[in-house]
Amino acid sequence: MQLQSFDESYVERLQAGDFRTQEHFVAYFSELIQLKLRSRLHSPQAIEDVRQETFTRVFAALRGGKIRQPERLGAFVNSMCNNVLLEHYRASSRDSSLDDEEQQDFPATNVDVLGAVAAKQMGEKIREILEEMPERDRRLLREIFLEERDKDEVCKDFGVDREYLRVLLYRAKQSFKSLYLKNVAARPPGAVAVEKR
């Protein structure tokens, strides 16, 4: 999705119900919300519930004119997500949700905003980056991310420190990032591609 400024004009379009703006808004923040929640909630259903409830409340706040700082829209979404998450932890969020209002369904979380072709291209790029790495770095990433071993133990086994791991990830990400940005920028605003999973 193309970068858009979260400013007064953007908020006005959201409030007015502009479809493209709403689609962009949901797609953009859905991904961030998922990244935020996956380390805190293990159930995909719980993640989806919190995501939906977050957007329900944010849109209610938009309709009520409660967004006073448009440039801080992102922080507002994050804050709302934190509140919903707390309530989820206390297992009382469903009672305090806006049951009286019409529930709006937001696009499913497993919609890939990048498209099948772009995803394939990026997958190939990542494969290339991994193949160019020394074998031990590949094994290091495998043990950290795939086998999910304790990071300190893995670093000790490989004779590296945590800084090495960060730099390894940083360099790999940077190698991939320019292609990723190119594909993200190439998507029309709010465009949602075919389902990936």
Partner: protein
Amino acid sequence: MDHDEAVRQNATERYLLDELDPELRDQFEEHLFDCQDCALDLRAGAMFVEQTKVILAEPPAVSESRVPVTEAAKPGWFAWLRPAFAVPVLALLLAVIGYQSFVTYPSLVATANQPQVGSWASVNVSTRGTTAISMKVRKGEGFGVLVNLPPEDGFASYTADLYNPAGKKEWSRQIATASHEETRQIYIQGHNLESGTYALVVNGITPGGESKELSRHPIDVQIQN
């Protein structure tokens, strides 16, 4: 947490590695939701990690080849001794192969399998480099410098100049800019490095071609034996 802090702390990588304590994690997330640069950075990193898991989970490709087996012709009793010089040449070859197999190659493998952790430093143009960076390298070994450029400051491009301890400019390199990429990598070759304080100067080049010094970063290089 502001953007500079997030970059300085490698917050994206630490977030992906789940290394941030709860307070820092919350601060980073609050910044992330408002900062499109950091959000894109994290999304790229997250996609890299997810795809890496998929790719590394694949079984290694096994290539099968069918080598036709042909029946070797039966040589005569003394065929292997002809011509006469074949035996000493073969003996010499065996000696060379033996030496390489038992001495040279294991040594090379041991060296190649040593952890290869390159030295690197990070400089932030915005902070102007008041504190000297200490860099300990072996003779002939170079090091990397990650240069964090200020976002959207109107310069068409940047150059990085390296001055040796005597104050003489060793080289000047152009740093190309691309939108959304604020960190560039510069590798400083090790073959001419000596102990002493070098200076890495980052200059901004205006669209009109004018050069303006943005920051000067002292690098205290110590060559270790």
